[in-house]
Symmetry: C2
Subunit: 321 residues, 2 copies
Amino acid sequence: MYIIGIDIGGMSIKGGVVDGANGTIVCKDSVVTKAAAGIDVLAADTAGLIGALLGKTSLKISDVAGIGIGMPGTVDSKTGRVIYSNNIRLVDAPIVEKLRKYYDNIPIEINNDANAAALGEVRFGESKDYKNIVFITLGTGVGTGLIVDGKLIEGNNSAGAEGGHMVIRVGGAVCTCGRRGCFEAYASAAALVRQTKAAMQKNKDSLMHKLARERNKISGRTAFLAAAEGDKTAAAVVNRYIRYVGEGIVNLANIFRPDVVLIGGGVSNEGDALILPLQEFMDNYCFGIKNGNPRVLVKKASLTNDAGIFGAASLIVSSVK
Amino acid sequence: MYIIGIDIGGMSIKGGVVDGANGTIVCKDSVVTKAAAGIDVLAADTAGLIGALLGKTSLKISDVAGIGIGMPGTVDSKTGRVIYSNNIRLVDAPIVEKLRKYYDNIPIEINNDANAAALGEVRFGESKDYKNIVFITLGTGVGTGLIVDGKLIEGNNSAGAEGGHMVIRVGGAVCTCGRRGCFEAYASAAALVRQTKAAMQKNKDSLMHKLARERNKISGRTAFLAAAEGDKTAAAVVNRYIRYVGEGIVNLANIFRPDVVLIGGGVSNEGDALILPLQEFMDNYCFGIKNGNPRVLVKKASLTNDAGIFGAASLIVSSVK
């Protein structure tokens, strides 16, 4: 079974043909996202990308089980409409209907990218044995995908699963959503960069300055790299950041008590330096953990670069099943 | 269909015979909880209460569709074991197995009291039309019952649905669970009393002093009553408390995007003085509410005094269905 997975992001639209049986990507391609160009352009560019993928693989559209699409924002999976996507600058846009003009006799499923990525870990990643998963992406924002008994928690009009917009510090840092103190405002890669810059400003001797000059930028990696070389200021940034991530994931673990919390997104590439202390935090602070409540594992998401394509494709696997 | 609902609390065990068809309580009774006396005494006292209810109604146990039990703490609904209940002082206690010695041929279901209360609102209260509900009790603690597509979110070993133990202020007030800054530590009735006492200590002229003297205690009502009479110190306490409750319920609404957030527990008796500002808070701060995401209603739970009995009975209605 072949599936087309489309990962629409703020910078590029990535697409791949996934062999559903083997869980491999047969072929992939991408085009630049023309954000702000509107839904018709987005649909045409996506259709063009799909056409290119079919051409490369010599598949006909009728050979494909379906087209799955993941994208940031609130996406109503039932109606196929983008309710609101800040990144792609769409409001109430009927994306599936627009795509039907190009591909009309084939299942097309769409969902939020974090939801898709969570499903992708179950269908194509290393979480096949788990039924209950809290997935979080630590990227530009903090996205969450919540799976209970193998199904996504989406909420009315698919407007739920916004765990990044859970306040962890009342009255704290301003969030793009209009509240103060959201998990996203402390635990995103962007927040980590802010925290890193603030610490660098206060500590001119920190190794972070040298690393940032060498790499010509301050990124989410700066503090982790300097901490690994023994820089105390950087270690304090990392520890505080991990504390913030830990508070948020313990919150979600207390609400869902899943099998596992999967960490994806750019920051997850820090690997054990991030995952091991988060597991320790979870083991110390999950509700009732010292009174017989079950442990919650913390793991790095297994699908990395192509997580978006696999996630999008998984929307079709679950709808075909 | 008759159902026996048993509501085990720290002070008393309340029981009732519920007419499942009419949603009425035919008869009720209670006994004192001998907390710390152990599981055998608790089971014997519960069995005795059930016997008394049967006697009063001239029903045989075979006339009853089942026995539902709600109690505080982590209760594994699948195994019928209390994993941990601080209030009743039980650890890993097989309560359903113990009750089987008295009543062996009848369905017995047990669950956490907030979970039961949430189901009770759907089966016997005014939430029959809702499929997706966040229920919170503002009592000694903050309990949550989470219903998605008509089913409870329980988590592994029923250890989830602990929304009261979601940190809303990192590093904040100490919580009984071992973390700092939990929703419960700011939004429970006990927290409201602490906030009230702190404000009274700073403001000796507040009307709250007079009200507390008249009633011989400082309670969760003190600030609400004084605020209603125009006391500014009390109004500040109430506003701040409502803000805390609001932050927590918006967090849960962003995660679940339910139809409604139902507020139960002692503080909910403040009615509109609590509910209306919470609705306003929700309408201002829910994620994407200004970009097309659906509104989430805030309502007072409809079952008041007998919520525990109805909730417990609802565990049987859902298992019989």
